[in-house]
């Protein structure tokens, strides 16, 4: 299942007057984060600047991103799917795989009817549309879900697979990137059907395991299981944030970086992970990136241990006088915190004290909201607003508060913005 223009659809669901109109989210970022189908039809694309948007679609309605609402919708969408089957893989914020095998009997209907029931329930209860692909394997189901968007329902039975693979270029396949597709093109394989049609021996001689698996999946043999556990292990954790207008103030840019670092560490600690490497990057006003990767002395998820390295790295990549618009932090080489060993030269008492400090900080945050206590280096972010000026750049959810809600903590229910 794949939600249709998810962010824009959520906006249309909570602001019904936006239905049927070209809606674009991401006002605070200055570029298109998501566009509704009405906007896409007029040629609006993801990542477009607003100047270009105004050219192709002057009537577009641009709203600020409201990630809290999108997340609420996402969780609800998955909960609705779980009513049908407990075997659900939350693949991304707006995509999921559901294993319906064997459920025909208990629901007294075909898999196709089951899928259309799912579609109807989501539409009725959440007011957003989704597209569903039903097939024998995850790769085929994904092809199906993209086949007929929006509000599509595509069933690919085993004997009709070839009809859907025929026109599909290999680079559009899930798991095949530009390099592999270039390689496949050299072997004379251009469409998914040509790939699926090769014999097993050919595939095994030329391709590595992941692509052999895709070949199996394309032929209707399910290899990828539906992974039901919610994501608890991460390869890396990244936090990035844009600020407008771009800034040349060194302490402000570093504060942005420092806040991202704190946020990434909070997430790492929530999953009991520690990072071995730290990547910092800055995006200049002209959208060019510069970054640096740092190896850490000791795997950690405590900002105070990272600051020294971060400051040094920042000094190396930061250039005076150049306006920056975004900072980002990636924690990588993650390992379970419990497996971190002290080295001979570690000051264990100091580390244990630090663990206590951060434990208390996390407790304070869960009680009073994130960043109740924060590092002084992040403070300049508070002196200047993230996105200058216009009040409309902040989603209504964060400004129109109900008595008892505050800037950090609000009710866990989406709001409908209807004047009645």
């Amino acid at each position: 299942m794949d939600a249709d223009a998810f962010f824009a659809s959520c906006e249309q669901a909570i602001h019904p007057e936006l239905r049927g109109k070209p809606v674009i989210t991401g006002k605070e970022r200055g570029i298109v984060a998501a566009a509704s189908y009405e906007a896409k039809a007029r040629g609006v694309k993801r990542g477009m600047g607003y100047f270009d948007v105004k050219k192709v679609c002057p009537e577009a309605i641009i709203v600020p991103s409201d990630y809290e609402t999108y997340s609420l919708f996402s969780v609800r969408m998955f909960e609705i799917l779980r009513r049908f089957s407990p075997d659900l893989e939350e693949y991304s914020i707006d995509e999921a795989f559901v294993d319906l095998t064997g459920l025909r009997r208990s629901f007294h209907c075909s898999y196709g009817e089951l899928a259309s029931q799912i579609q109807e329930t989501v539409e009725k209860e959440l007011g957003i549309t989704v597209s569903i692909g039903v097939s024998l394997s995850k790769v085929l189901a994904k092809i199906g879900s993209k086949h007929d968007k929006p509000h599509g329902l595509t069933i690919i039975p085993g004997k009709e697979i070839h009809l859907y693979l025929d026109k599909l270029p290999v680079e559009k396949l899930w798991g095949i990137g530009p390099n592999t597709s270039a390689f496949l093109n050299k072997l004379g394989i251009r469409t998914a059907l040509e790939l699926a049609g090769k014999d097993e021996e050919f595939i095994q001689r030329h391709l590595s395991k992941p692509f052999q698996e895709i070949w199996c999946e394309l032929n209707g043999m399910s290899v990828y299981p539906v992974v039901t556990e919610s994501k608890s292990s991460y390869q890396s954790i990244s936090k990035t944030k844009t600020f407008t207008p771009p800034s040349t103030d060194e302490s402000f840019v570093f504060a942005q970086l420092s806040k991202n670092l704190e946020n990434a560490c909070i997430k790492a600690r929530r999953h009991n992970l520690a990072a071995k490497r730290l990547i910092l990057f800055l995006r200049k006003k002209d959208f060019r990136d510069i970054g640096i990767e740092l190896k850490l002395n000791r795997p950690t998820a405590y900002p105070s241990e990272l600051f020294e390295a971060a400051r040094e790295g920042f000094r190396q990549i930061y250039q005076q006088g150049i306006p920056y618009r975004l900072t980002g932090v990636v924690l990588s080489g993650l390992m379970p915190e419990s497996r971190v060993q002290f080295t001979l030269f570690d000051d264990t008492t100091k580390i244990e004290k630090m663990a206590k400090v951060y434990d208390s900080i996390d407790k304070l945050s869960s009680r009073f909201g994130k960043h109740t206590v924060q590092h002084a280096s992040s403070l300049p972010t508070k002196l200047q607003v993230q996105h200058e000026g216009k009040r409309q750049d902040i989603p209504e959810r964060k400004t129109a508060l109900f008595s008892g809600e505050n800037r950090r903590q609000r009710l866990g229910l989406p709001m409908l913005y209807i004047k009645v």
Partner: protein, 215 residues
């Protein structure tokens, strides 16, 4: 140990003593829950070392002490070969305090069946939205400007329900009245007139509750 004290000496418990006992009970209860969780998931009792892993005890001696204690409480038992068999955890009964003090707290038993305000106000969580009221057309029904109403989108609207509806392009909150196949939207304020949809009526949800917070 408090357990061995005769009942009439109960009064002499110090406040701290009670606190400690509560903590110990809490801990024991959570351990029993861990073990019973394992039993229901795997369909078998854990081994000693698995119990150690489950509840974070490193030494088997500590596990063994716990097992002896749980045996006394009839939570589990051992067969002739010394392997663990389930005792009371075999029956899916809620653990109402541990039996160590002899009397499970009556308060706990009574409170097991209460609902939170959330559960009471929200029937179908996934389909529930909040809406801040701005107009006064439903003031007669006790819904005032500034109030929050809880809207269920999944519910089929019936005559007499308060609904959020789109009538000929305008949004409104009114009583829904069905007479035969005629539909009227009735306000609860004499200042407003009933609405008879001319072209189109879309009901977007049913109002299931109103929330007004004074402080």
């Amino acid at each position: 140990m408090f357990l061995s004290l005769p009942l009439d000496s109960k009064r002499s418990f110090t406040y701290n003593g009670n606190m400690k006992q509560e903590l110990r009970e809490e801990k024991l209860k959570s351990r029993i829950q861990e073990i019973s969780h394992f039993y229901y998931q795997k369909g078998r009792m854990p081994s000693f070392s698995e119990i150690g892993e489950l509840i974070g005890l490193k030494s088997k001696n500590a596990v063994s002490k716990l097992v002896i204690r749980l045996e006394e409480l009839k939570v589990l038992a051992r067969d002739e070969k010394g392997r663990l068999t389930p005792g009371s955890i075999k029956f899916p009964v809620r653990i109402l305090g541990t039996v160590e003090a002899g009397f499970p707290s009556p308060a706990e038993e009574e409170l097991a069946d209460t609902r939170s305000l959330d559960e009471m106000l929200i029937q179908n969580h996934e389909a529930t939205f909040m809406l801040k009221v701005s107009g006064d057309s439903m003031s007669g029904a006790g819904i005032l400007p500034g109030d929050m109403v809880i809207v269920n989108k999944g519910q089929t609207p019936r005559s007499g329900d308060i609904v959020i509806a789109e009538v000929d392009g305008e949004w409104t909150m009114k009583y829904l009245r069905k007479r035969g196949d005629k539909i009227t939207l009735m306000p609860a304020n004499p200042k407003y007139k009933p609405i008879k949809p001319k072209n189109e009526l879309k009901i977007s949800g049913v109002v299931t509750a109103v929330v007004r917070k004074y402080k």
